[in-house]
């Protein structure tokens, strides 16, 4: 090929890629850079910006509520990521067996994931309503397990765990779906060979299923960490007193007077932490 042709081709390649690069730059890179820029300013709603240097960051790092929200986020992340992964895996293994009405059961499992958050949240609030809810009715009036009615969603000691259980219930179907897809492609003869080697069900799971699923599990965990570190709507709607990082950001930045500089600072830190975590995870766990 002549050098002119090569040049032309590479020029055409650049032209073809340019729109994509432009769109990504405009929609992803620019907001991130602008956000970093904003985090050094005191921003007012009418657009006035006053340079404050690191003040937004120092204010934030001196706020005990910020550390509290980090702690809450960590518990929330560990609880929900482990919960959805384990439950998703269990459901996938179960649904990979042959039984009657399997297709119906497979479909039903997905329901929590399809249901709109707002309606499901209200459903849960009705269930756990301290005065009229079915939970208290059953526990106190029917089974007489306790004498006092509890507000499980409202009580700060239990609210975080209700939120975790809610998230596991709502989002395990996506993990289940990914695991089931992979399970269906695991060759049957691997299990047969393991059986011949004298492995029982547990052994087959440990030596065949898990290694085969390794990358899917790693992907699910990675996705869940990213999603749940940023998850706002489920937590805020169900129990606004559970202050995970996004909820804390909301209260700081958007409740009442909009404090855009502080909000930018929080999201910059959150972005750095997330990028660091993912880098570590990809290098050490996934070994990509």
């Amino acid at each position: 090929m002549s050098s002119v042709l090569i040049k032309n081709e590479s020029r055409l390649g650049l032209k073809l890629v340019a729109p994509a690069v432009g769109i990504i730059g405009l929609l992803v890179i620019y907001p991130i850079l602008f956000n970093i820029y904003l985090s050094f300013f005191d921003v007012q709603l009418n657009g006035t910006k006053t340079f404050v240097g690191m003040e937004n960051y120092t204010d934030l790092l001196g706020n005990p509520r910020y550390y509290h929200s980090i702690g809450v986020s960590v518990i929330y992340l560990i609880g929900t990521v482990i919960g959805t992964t384990v439950l998703g895996l269990a459901a996938a293994i179960l649904m990979n067996q042959e039984f009657r009405f399997r297709n119906l059961a497979r479909g039903l499992i997905l329901l929590p994931y399809f249901a709109p958050v707002i309606s499901v949240v209200f459903g849960w609030q009705f269930i756990f309503d301290p005065v009229n809810g079915i939970y208290n009715h059953v526990v106190v009036d029917v089974l007489h397990l306790t004498d006092t009615r509890e507000n499980l969603i409202g009580n700060p000691d239990s609210a975080l765990f209700v939120v975790i259980v809610f998230d596991i219930w709502k989002h395990f179907p996506i993990a289940y779906l990914l695991f089931l897809a992979k399970l269906q492609s695991v060759p049957k003869d691997l299990y047969e060979a393991a059986a011949i080697d004298g492995q029982n069900a547990w052994g087959r799971f440990w030596h065949v299923t898990l290694p085969e699923l390794r990358f899917v599990i790693a992907t699910v965990v990675l996705l869940r960490v990213i999603w749940n570190l940023n998850r706002f709507e489920d937590v805020y709607l169900l129990a606004p007193n559970v202050e995970t990082l996004p909820i804390f950001t909301y209260y700081q930045a958007f409740a009442g007077i909009v404090d855009q500089g502080v909000a930018a600072a929080i999201s910059v830190i959150q972005l750095l932490v997330l990028v660091g975590l993912i880098w570590l995870y990809v290098r050490k766990v996934l070994k990509w």
Binding site: L45, V131, G154, N155, P240, A255, G256, I257
Partner: protein, 451 residues
């Protein structure tokens, strides 16, 4: 051809000139209202058209502006030189605009003189007064908050009306029976504005305040601390966990003895009665034996004023504000329109948009037979005496943001950041020490004020 064109141009100019001169003599009232719902707007449009029909050459243009947007929209309009002649908005924004020097206090003075100062509820008028005694706005409608309670239960147990701290606590204790899922009172313990409203009324009755008349932050005081401790005590008789206004449903279900609420509850209580009329068990057998209590409206009484160290009612009011304009015709038309809006016929039409929620600021309206004949029949169920008692709360209406007629904008920022509700939540739900919570709240208030 050329002459024809000239004639045409000259003719057009003449006609335009006549029209323009006509227009300059016609008066215009641009009226911004915070009532943005379609049905309410239609109602206000109807009033505007009636006024136009009665006043030749006056045009009234009604514009709906969201209450939260009113301050920004006004700032933009002032900058662009398109200020409306009249607005209807809540008292906090009125006081802020008043401080900006764009309000036509002379027109307000004129209207008050024409109507008669003594006809306005005193507390309502004071809320809109400037430090120098001018009026930044004219009170038009408002809600007040107080304790709604089961009169029949109180009578049965020989309890006194919940109008003092002692009476409230005694009744709350007496009416709580957690084993049977029954609660004495509803006070706000969630981190939202309802909590602040309830706390404010109790704090005001204890002479606690956010600012002194000079604008110094005086929130961290023995009076506030005492109120917080009392609040914590009352919260024991709340339904379990953090609660907000939605828990009023427990009252409607007959599971609660008292609850703090505004007068906006009135049609809820009464409409249940209306619903019962059409859905009685005579027609719908399966409905009999339900939890609905048809006697609830009759058995409910209202204590709008709470007294401890002083008498306090709490409420929010909306007012009419005439803005400065260069045209004398427009000023005159605006004054006429305001007075038309206070005319009993139009006033009552306006207030009936939300019976009970929107209450009159003029004495006598609440007893007017026409007022008591609202389309949904809400007031009939309450009766003239109860209505009179409810609006009497406006004589003592007070809030944190206004001290001796002076408004403190920082109070709005403190409100917006939910400092007080978060303090209450930490004490009542998280069990934090009241003094520690108060210290933290004060520190946050100072941070907001930039100290």
């Amino acid at each position: 051809m050329k002459s024809k064109t000239s004639l045409f141009v000259a003719g057009t100019m003449l006609v335009n000139g006549l029209l323009i001169s006509q227009l300059t003599h016609a008066a215009k009232v641009e009226f911004w209202t915070a009532q943005t719902q379609t049905d309410r707007l239609q109602n206000i449009e109807l009033l505007a058209s009636t006024f136009e029909a009665l006043n030749d050459g006056v045009t009234v243009k009604v514009v709906a502006v969201d209450e939260n947007e009113m301050a920004t929209q006004m700032a933009a309009a002032v900058a662009a030189g398109t200020t409306p002649q009249l607005i209807e908005v809540n008292s906090e924004i009125i006081m802020a605009l008043g401080e900006e020097g764009i309000v036509d206090t002379k027109t307000h003075q004129g209207v008050i003189k024409d109507i008669g100062k003594s006809r306005f509820h005193k507390g309502a008028l004071t809320t809109l007064a400037s430090p120098s005694g001018e009026y930044y706005g004219l009170p038009y409608h408002g809600f007040i908050q107080g304790i709604w309670y089961r009169k029949d239960w109180f009578d049965e147990k020989g309890l006194a009306a919940p109008n003092t701290w002692e009476n409230i606590e005694t009744a709350a204790k007496e009416l709580t029976d957690k084993a049977n899922n029954q609660y004495g009172i509803l006070i706000g313990t969630k981190q939202d504005s309802y909590t602040e409203q309830v706390f404010t009324q109790l704090a005001l009755s204890n002479n606690a305040s956010e600012f002194d008349a000079k604008g110094n932050l005086v929130f961290n005081s023995p009076a506030t601390l005492e109120t917080i401790k009392y609040y914590k005590e009352l919260s024991k008789y709340n339904p379990p966990g953090p609660q907000n206004w939605r828990a009023r449903d427990y009252y409607l279900q007959g599971k609660m003895g008292m609850f703090f609420y505004s007068t906006y509850i009135m049609d809820d209580l009464a409409l249940a009665e209306v619903a019962k009329g059409s859905l009685s068990s005579a027609n719908f057998k399966e409905l009999s034996g339900g939890t609905f209590d048809p006697e609830l409206v009759k058995n409910t009484a209202f204590a709008p004023i709470i007294t401890h160290k002083s008498a306090a009612s709490y409420g929010t009011l909306s007012g009419l504000v005439a803005l400065k304009t260069k045209s004398a015709e427009n000023t005159k038309a605006t004054k006429d329109f305001i007075e038309f809006m206070y005319d009993p016929a139009s006033y009552i039409t306006f207030l009936h948009m939300a019976p009970g929620g929107m209450n009159p600021m003029l004495k006598g309206i609440a007893e007017d037979p026409a007022y008591l004949e609202d389309p949904n029949g809400v007031f009939k169920l309450y009766g003239a005496d109860k209505m009179k008692q409810i609006v009497s709360g406006f004589d003592d209406i007070r809030s944190f943001s206004v001290v001796e007629g002076k408004t403190f904008p920082a109070s709005g920022a403190i409100f917006a950041k939910s400092v007080i509700p978060r303090m209450i939540y930490s004490v009542t739900i998280e069990g934090k020490d009241p003094q520690a919570a108060l210290d933290d709240a004060e520190a946050e208030m100072k941070a907001i004020m930039g100290e």
